[in-house]
């Protein structure tokens, strides 16, 4: 007890010192904070402002919203110029959803083994998963393109979903392993002593506790899948292309005029749901990102 006594005094002294430094140090921090906010928000803000601005004023430099219109969104979703952005959104949901569900289902078992069991060859598995996460996608394009051409899969959903599963599996496993390591596994042991089988103990006791971790991992996997462009650009057809491919080759009525405003509207449609998701779950996402990144 006695050694705790100086604590408030030290804290008070620190506060006084902090107040003295307030101006110089905080000034620099505030400038930094404003800079980071501008960094993250300004380009995104400009995209949204342009999306809602009359296309005749696309290159206006007025920093606040002017000439408000929904015309760009109509153009972005219209199918008259050979675009089908609504279908692309559905395709991305299908590809992202199925990939995430399958990768999570497979990943749970591996993550459980890596987090809970000390077994021979564990480092080999960790190494393989790590190697796969750094693997250059481009090395797969040629064989997969040829293989899928041979079996008539080009333009099918599975041609994109199956490779995507292997790309997000390492991320899923790392994030889940890291989360699993922090769970109170004594509860599982307790359930086992009460007569539950190992699978029951995991499913009924541990999985509910891990639900937030699973949810975070699902968000990360979904965002990673929706982000994929290289393989989709080679393996999809007009009917199955995801939003990344659709936005990359978005065309207007006049081939000589880039439909900037409609593209910004399309970008806004894709981005705003993702941004809302990120804002709602930012704390979880950051813990998931750093769990998979720093600890891996």
């Amino acid at each position: 007890m006695a050694h705790r006594a100086p604590e408030p005094i030290a804290a008070a002294a620190r506060r006084v010192a902090a107040r003295k430094r307030f101006d110089a140090k905080n000034y620099r921090v505030y400038v930094g904070v404003v800079f980071i906010l501008l960094w993250g928000l300004a380009p995104f803000y400009w995209m949204v402002v342009t999306a809602f601005r009359d296309p005749d004023y696309t290159f206006s430099t007025v920093p606040w919203p002017t000439h408000l219109t929904l015309e760009n969104f109509q153009n972005a979703l219209s199918t008259s110029s050979g675009n089908d952005f609504t279908q692309a959104l559905i395709n991305s949901m299908i590809i992202g959803g199925v990939t995430t569900a399958v990768a999570l289902t497979i990943g749970i078992f591996t993550a459980y083994a890596l987090a809970r069991i000390a077994f021979r060859g564990k480092y080999v598995v960790v190494g393989i998963v790590l190697g796969a996460s750094m693997f250059p996608v481009v090395a797969l394009v040629t064989p997969l393109f040829q293989f899928f051409t041979n079996i008539g899969w080009i333009g099918s959903y599975q041609a994109m979903i199956i490779p995507n599963i292997s790309f997000v599996l390492p991320l899923t496993i790392y994030t889940l392993t890291s989360f699993f390591s922090d769970l109170p596994w004594e509860l599982e042991e307790a359930a086992r002593i009460d007569g539950a089988s190992r699978a029951q103990a995991f499913r009924l006791v541990m999985l509910p506790l891990a639900a937030p971790a699973l949810f975070t991992t699902a968000i990360l996997a979904f965002i990673a899948t929706v982000n994929e462009y290289l393989l989709a650009s080679q393996l999809s057809s007009d009917a199955t292309e995801p939003v990344t491919v659709a936005i990359a080759r978005f065309s207007g009525n006049d081939p000589h005029v880039v439909p900037y405003a409609a593209i910004m509207a399309a970008g806004t449609i894709v981005t705003v749901p993702l941004v809302i998701m990120v804002l709602l779950f930012q704390r979880r996402i950051v813990s998931g990102l750093t769990a998979g990144g720093v600890k891996s």
Partner: protein, 362 residues
């Protein structure tokens, strides 16, 4: 998917979450249970406290290894086999269409020595403008992008992390702002910067310049670097911030008492202690940068000045599978070599760092 619906109510022991999470892999649990404990139930019961057996672990890891073997292992082997075959085409000697056949390493020498068959059948230097003449320039551009973007991202990311770590007001707001560039898909990012860097766009207006950002060689490269740094630095900052927060505050207090200045505290405490996390982040970012494709491909629309090796492979795919396989295998070996050098010389041993930190975190 059942998992997201279960998660918001997923506080410990919540019944809705329990059923939702349980539904997310129907049938899996029981089947898993049966095969894992068939032969060794008594054995397991006796040494329950030791934990499940090694065989069980491999059983759990199996599906992952199978998926990775099918989608990554098999195509790699196939690519190597294909790269040693000739692409079907006209035989320069007979003028007949031939179906390919054994090529030896000629596909590799085609890229590495930039040699193409001439109409007479002799090997000559690939004419400018063909893909064959672009290999080494693509390698150079890829390495340029990698070194420049990773350096900038580490530098700015470190600074951002320190700012985010020392600001207590609006931390959530900062975190949200920093996550936005990360959340936007790269293809959308590319189009967004394509608009910003348009001739009449906001970049030229702000700087009062008239630069053709996406078609002139150096402005195009700068544009790609700016867009990539914008998108990825926040991610870097978050990783570094997590590393910074592991450093106990006492260490700084002690150094202050000993009279260390702010710069000394940064170089003597922050940098060495954040180094393991930083090295892992650098390794991952370098691997990412070496395979860069989306940004240059979309932002500059096939400008040869920003053709990375990945873009070169994709352009070659439709002109001959076997030659493309040789190129992608070369790319793979190149990236593997860089990873090897990084791990060896920078000590960025990700596996070990992970284990050490996991044990430390426990």
């Amino acid at each position: 998917m059942a998992v997201p619906t279960g998660a918001p109510t997923g506080t410990p022991g919540g019944p809705p979450a329990r059923s939702a999470a349980g539904d997310s892999f129907p049938g899996r649990g029981p089947r898993d249970d049966g095969s894992g404990e068939h032969g060794s139930r008594n054995d397991l019961a006796r040494r329950r406290h030791v934990g499940p057996s090694s065989r069980r672990a491999w059983f759990l890891v199996g599906p992952t290894l199978v998926v990775l073997a099918i989608v990554i292992g098999y195509p790699i082997v196939r690519a190597v086999v294909m790269s040693l075959q000739k692409d079907p085409g006209l035989d320069p000697e007979t003028g007949m269409f031939v179906e390919g056949g054994w090529a030896g390493f000629s596909n590799y020498t085609h890229w590495l020595l930039q040699q193409c068959p001439s109409p007479t059948g002799a090997m000559i230097a690939c004419p400018p403008g063909t893909l064959g003449s672009q290999f080494w320039s693509a390698v150079g551009i890829t390495l340029f992008f990698t070194v420049v973007t990773v350096t900038l991202e580490v530098g700015i990311g470190l600074w951002m992390a320190i700012i985010m770590g020392s600001s207590f007001t609006g931390r959530a707001l900062l975190r949200a702002a920093v996550l936005i560039p990360w959340a936007i898909p790269t293809a959308v990012t590319a189009k967004l910067w394509y608009f910003i860097f348009a001739y009449d766009g906001i970049a030229n207006t702000l700087f009062g310049t008239h630069i053709l950002w996406t078609s002139d060689p150096w402005p195009a490269r700068v544009a790609v670097v700016i867009a990539d740094v914008w998108k990825t630095t926040p991610f870097m900052a978050l990783l570094i911030l997590a590393g910074l927060q592991m450093i106990p505050n006492d260490v700084y207090e002690a150094a202050k008492v000993d009279g260390a200045g702010a710069w000394q505290r940064f170089t003597q405490i922050t940098l060495p202690l954040v180094k393991p996390a930083l090295m892992v982040a650098i390794l991952f970012r370098t691997m990412d940068a070496l395979r860069m494709y989306d940004l240059p491909a979309i932002l500059t629309g096939g400008n040869p000045a920003t053709t990375t090796v990945s873009i070169l492979v994709v352009e070659q795919v439709r002109q001959g599978f076997n030659s493309a396989s040789a190129l992608s295998t070369t790319t793979f070996l190149l990236i593997f070599a860089v990873a090897f050098v990084l791990v060896k010389f920078l000590g960025a041993n990700a596996v070990r760092t992970q284990e050490v930190q996991r044990q430390g975190a426990k």
